[in-house]
């Protein structure tokens, strides 16, 4: 058993008389060691996203802006908004010194070591923006909460999600979450609210997945910045003008040229490809994963219960890995349903946000809940999108123990659900050991430092639930990654581990969502 001395492990100085000292390890120290580790991961597995980004480097470098969204030599066409394309263009200016061959559009699947080193290095360097944003976050925290902010920042910086998705799988999330965090931090003070809105607009023009969070921004900025905090009926025209001008000019710069060239519909088609199915290839751990799981169980039970089975769907269901899921027993889910549900569960927390102007904690909570709603009920959700919940949530997870207990099962489920992204043997120890390391370290530290809530906990059951949940994780991972292959071999029932993992993770995400909803509405 753990014998833990409940000493102030994170207390600032050895003797109590000392003034508030710096907290160690500092953000920079962690960044240095983490960078060393990430550099060592250069030769690790990389997904097709690596080729996606190489292709975008080539497109932005060798074609005029007019043709960026029409080019389709590669199947990985440019489907991020213009600012991200501009970011790629910027990178390509440096890329030509590393290896000009990567900038040729026709060089599909080109991965010389210079290309790999260059692209991996840009991920690490662009992540410096995250370090900057986290540093701002710590500085913005009130003196009494500095230590908590510091710990939360370290947890984001060292997040296994970012490690797996950015530094192995390959994407630029660290950079973009840095922009998001900076925008959230700027929303903390009335004087910088305007910049918060503008930076969020820039972020939207880099990666449109953040549209899912935009309602929270809209409500918060409207209520806190554009209207008088004391009365809804007193608009502050100066602020409305400034914010409107700022946001419109950001969008104008981003999309203006394309509107001018009459390419807006082409952009829309590229950015919002609605032809995809409900569930992504690997099921993201959301409501629809649970729905599919129930459907599959019902197929087995249907003869006994006398339910009718849609035979057409049956053939596709058993394959498990299809992108276009159809259900055999349960009714089909249409896009309209998913949008309706997402909207509904986004609006509920926004009502509270509307009624508490200027409350930053509620704002971050609302962002988190918007992330939850879109992740749980959205159409064709990627498992990577779970960071959209985890990262804003991390900023407030240490508010008190009730927040933390909701965060705990999300941290476990969210990170475990990312495991299927990496399926090669060499990366298996990295993803598991790193995630376990992070979970043990930060869940322990969070447990130690999270303050006791002012009000008693409503659901002590939640704690029991998360403990039980944690206990199941280990045997499940062992089964899915080792035992299953030993029992059934590589080929047979390969959907089973994925289904177990995503259903298990979905349970955790939904559980933490319910837990957090309760905390949010009762706080």
């Amino acid at each position: 058993m753990l014998h833990v001395h409940y000493l102030p492990a994170f207390d600032s100085a050895p003797c109590g008389t000392a003034p508030m000292a710096d907290i160690y390890p500092s953000l920079a120290q962690c960044a240095i060691v983490a960078t060393a580790f990430k550099v060592l991961l250069f030769p690790a597995y990389k997904s097709t996203d690596f080729e996606v980004h190489r292709n975008w480097l080539a497109i932005t470098h060798s074609l005029p802006v007019k043709e960026w969204y029409y080019e389709k030599t590669s199947e990985w066409t440019l489907d991020y908004p213009p600012f991200f394309a501009a970011f790629e263009w910027l990178l390509s200016q440096a890329a030509q010194y590393a290896d000009p061959a990567m900038l040729i559009v026709k060089n599909l699947n080109y991965d010389s070591w210079q290309t790999v080193y260059f692209q991996r290095a840009t991920v690490i360097l662009s992540e410096l923006f995250l370090v900057f944003a986290l540093n701002r976050f710590i500085k913005s925290a009130p003196q009494s909460n500095k230590q908590l902010a510091h710990i939360a920042s370290l947890s984001i910086l060292l997040s296994p999600g970012l490690l797996i998705i950015d530094h192995i799988h390959f994407q630029y999330n660290g950079f973009m979450y840095g922009v998001l965090i900076l925008s959230i931090v700027l929303a903390r003070k009335q004087s910088t609210l305007l910049y918060s809105g503008i930076i969020f607009a820039i972020l939207l023009c880099m990666k449109h997945i953040h549209l899912y969070l935009s309602l929270a921004y809209f409500v918060y900025l409207l209520r806190t910045y554009c209207l008088d905090p004391k009365s809804v009926f007193r608009p502050r025209f100066g602020n409305i003008f400034k914010l409107g001008l700022g946001v419109i000019s950001v969008f104008g710069v981003a999309f203006g040229p394309f509107i001018y060239w009459n390419q807006l519909f082409q952009l829309k088609d590229r950015l919002f490809p609605f032809s995809r199915g409900l569930c992504h290839a690997y099921w993201a751990p959301n409501i629809w994963a649970m729905y599919s799981f129930t459907d599959r169980v019902l197929i087995l039970l249907a003869p006994r219960l006398g339910l009718s089975i849609n035979q057409e769907a049956l053939t596709s269901v058993t394959r498990g890995l299809v992108g276009d899921t159809s259900f055999a027993v349960l009714p089909e889910v249409t896009k309209e349903y998913t949008f309706g549900l997402t909207f509904l569960f986004q609006v509920l927390p926004l009502i509270k946000l509307w009624r508490s102007p200027g409350d930053w904690d509620v704002f971050v909570g609302a962002i988190t809940l918007c992330g939850y709603a879109s992740f749980l009920f959205g159409w064709h959700v990627h498992e990577k999108a779970v960071l959209l919940i985890i990262i804003p949530f991390s900023l407030i997870a240490l508010r008190d123990r009730r927040y933390f207990s909701a965060f705990r099962s999300l941290a476990i489920a969210g990170h475990v659900s990312l495991f299927p992204l990496l399926f090669t043997a060499a990366e298996f120890p990295i993803k598991t050991v790193y995630t376990v390391f992070w979970l043990v370290l930060f869940l322990f530290v969070f447990e130690q430092v999270a303050p006791v809530p002012e009000r008693p906990r409503i659901f002590p059951v939640v704690d029991r639930f998360s403990l039980l949940y944690l206990a199941v994780a280990i045997p499940l991972i062992v089964y899915c990654s080792l035992l299953h292959q030993l029992i059934f071999g590589l080929e047979r029932y390969e959907f089973l581990p994925l289904m177990f993992m995503s259903s298990y993770s979905a349970l955790g995400v939904v559980g933490s969502w319910i837990g957090f909803m309760v905390v949010y509405f009762t706080a």
């Binding site: 001395h5 994170f10 003797c15 000292a21 990295i430």
Partner: protein
């Protein structure tokens, strides 16, 4: 059955680092205004643990973190990757797994010797057999006899890498953790400092780069040595013998340590009074351990088939030189043949004085004064004489004063002596002197600037001399990352000058050893030379006639530095011995008064 009374001992509670006045408190710098800061970055990472967080939490976290770095290094290239026809150490180890699982024992040391014939002691052979058997469960084609030569399946790489890390976590890591626990307890070093030292030791760049990058199983042998030291600290001398035989039986390089172990074990039987029974027990256990080690091989040589096979090989030179005539039909003949063949394979006296370019005395002398002109036997004798001369003093000290606390400096001195002067040294052998030297970080004042500066410097130099080798394996980036990371964590150049900067202590009551000004200058010169060498090596092609110029330069600087490291370890040993002698004198004076 009742538990043995000595098998359960409650773990001693140690004082919190904050209240103790242990001299290892150099980890926290007090700026005099009540503000405390960590002395170097590694301390920051364990800062939160200084108030006494459970070892049950700290230790797994440390082991996971260092394991991640090991595995990440192992993603890179290995020795002999895509270098047909012979490949490298990776292929050698794989090939041994292949031959041990497919051939009878009598053929292990005789089969196709031109292609990576087995030339390590029997424990390596058994280890290879076990790993080969397990690997065959995954994919038999990895170890198919003769067919699998030069196989470069990425899954095979993952398996082989995993065997290194698993072997290390089963032997090296537990041994080092246990050793540190006992050693720090013995020296009154706080638990927290011990954790800091543990991370520093486990992140030692040269060991990680060679075992997980280049590909070898050195940590198994080093682990046995650490286990042997741990047993000595625990007072279980017989276990110490067994573990040390294990180390020797895994890799003959452990012989570098053998003189000290021998002198120490003999010493405890002679001083303070002669204990014949102890001596008898120790020698008996050692002999039995060796016998058990080679028994399977000998048994394998008895059968009729083995007899035929062994008779067909050329007579091992060792057997040829035997003055007596042997009866070829005797039952003992083939085991003897097998034994001499194993010894012949393990100790290839026929090879040259040194192999490749290695930073020792002979290679350095050879640069200016060609040694080919002398006969091989003369060189062998000179080398033997020089080695003996270099290890004489430390061995004498450890024999006269067989104290556990002298072991680390004595082991490093003797290993440096062997590295510098002995026959057939490999650049990878530098790991041997580096291990006991690095373990000194956990001793009393081990993390003080003086020790940290020297140990850190020797490690940086050691890794640096292996750079030409690592570069060939495609390990350039891991080399830079791991060495710079270690330097950063311990506050060493070229990342930081912390270790050479004097600092003002608020209370001067207990001045901590700081590097002398000459030390500082010497070290800085070496660091400058290393950095300069890297710049030159990377950007300036060597002159036309001398393609090896940079490597030779590396060897020369390295040999000079290792000579200094030898002297420092020797000085440390003599100093410790002298201090203890003085302390004893004082004690007796007090008693007499």
């Amino acid at each position: 059955m009742a538990p043995h009374p000595s098998s359960y001992r409650p773990r001693k509670k140690r004082k919190s680092p904050l209240t103790s006045t242990g001299s290892n408190n150099a980890l926290i710098v007090d700026d005099g205004k009540g503000k405390y800061t960590p002395a170097f970055p590694l301390v920051s990472f364990l800062w939160a643990a200084r108030a006494g967080v459970s070892q049950w939490l700290i230790l797994p976290l440390i082991l996971m973190a260092v394991g991640l770095f090991r595995w990440a290094v192992s993603l890179w290239g290995y020795s002999g990757f895509q270098v047909p026809p012979m490949h490298g150490d990776f292929e050698a180890q794989r090939h041994w797994m292949e031959i041990t699982i497919h051939l009878p024992m009598s053929k292990w040391y005789t089969y196709d010797l031109q292609y990576w014939g087995l030339d390590y002691p029997p424990l390596t052979a058994y280890h290879s057999w076990l790993l080969g058997k397990i690997g065959t469960l995954f994919d038999p084609s990895w170890f198919a006899l003769d067919e699998s030569r030069g196989l470069e399946d990425p899954r095979l790489k993952v398996y082989m890498r995993a065997t290194v890390i698993v072997s290390e976590y089963l032997i090296f890591i537990p041994a080092v953790v246990n050793f540190l626990r006992r050693y720090t307890q013995m020296h009154g070093v706080p638990v927290w400092s011990a954790s800091v030292a543990l991370v520093a030791i486990l992140l030692q760049p040269s060991t990680i780069l060679i075992d997980h990058g280049h590909f070898q199983y050195n940590t198994v042998m080093l682990g046995f040595v650490a286990a042997s030291l741990d047993a000595i600290l625990a007072g279980r001398m017989l276990w110490a013998c067994i573990f040390f035989v294990g180390a020797l039986g895994f890799k003959q390089m452990a012989l570098y340590y053998a003189p000290v172990m021998f002198a120490f074990l003999l010493g405890i039987c002679v001083f303070p009074r002669i204990q014949l029974i102890r001596l008898l027990c120790i020698s008996l256990v050692t002999i039995v351990a060796f016998a058990v080690l080679i028994a399977p091989l000998m048994m394998g040589a008895v059968s009729a088939d083995a007899r035929d096979e062994l008779s067909s090989i050329p007579l091992p030179p060792l057997l040829e030189t035997l003055p007596i005539e042997l009866d070829k039909s005797s039952l003992l003949y083939t085991p003897l043949l097998q034994l001499t063949q194993v010894i012949h394979r393990i100790f290839p006296f026929a090879r040259g004085l040194f192999e490749d370019k290695v930073a020792n005395a002979w290679c350095a002398i050879h640069t200016f004064y060609k040694l080919h002109r002398f006969e091989a036997t003369l060189l062998q004798r000179v080398s033997l004489g020089a080695t003996l001369a270099s290890i004489l003093i430390p061995c004498a000290i450890i024999f006269r004063h067989p104290r556990a606390s002298f072991l680390l400096p004595a082991l490093s001195t003797v290993a440096w002596g062997f590295f510098l002067f002995s026959f057939q040294v490999h650049e990878k052998s530098v790991l041997l002197p580096l291990l006991p030297m690095t373990l000194m970080l956990s001793g009393d004042g081990g993390l003080s600037k003086e020790t940290r500066a020297w140990v850190g410097w020797a490690n940086m130099l050691g890794s640096w001399t292996m750079f030409p080798l690592l570069q060939r394996d495609g390990l350039r980036i891991p080399y830079f990352v791991m060495t710079l990371l270690w330097a950063y964590l311990l506050g060493l150049p070229p990342v930081s000058l912390e270790v050479y900067r004097g600092y003002r202590s608020s209370d001067d009551s207990s001045p901590l050893p700081e590097p002398h000004i000459i030390t500082k200058l010497l070290h800085l010169c070496f660091y400058l030379a290393m950095v300069g060498w890297h710049v030159v090596e990377a950007f300036v092609p060597p002159p036309a006639g001398k393609p090896d110029l940079w490597v030779v330069l590396n060897v020369l600087i390295g040999a000079g530095g290792f000579g200094l490291a030898y002297l420092w370890c020797l000085r440390k040993l003599i100093l410790q011995c002298w201090m203890i002698g003085r302390k004893l004198e004082k004690d007796t004076q007090k008693k007499n008064q």
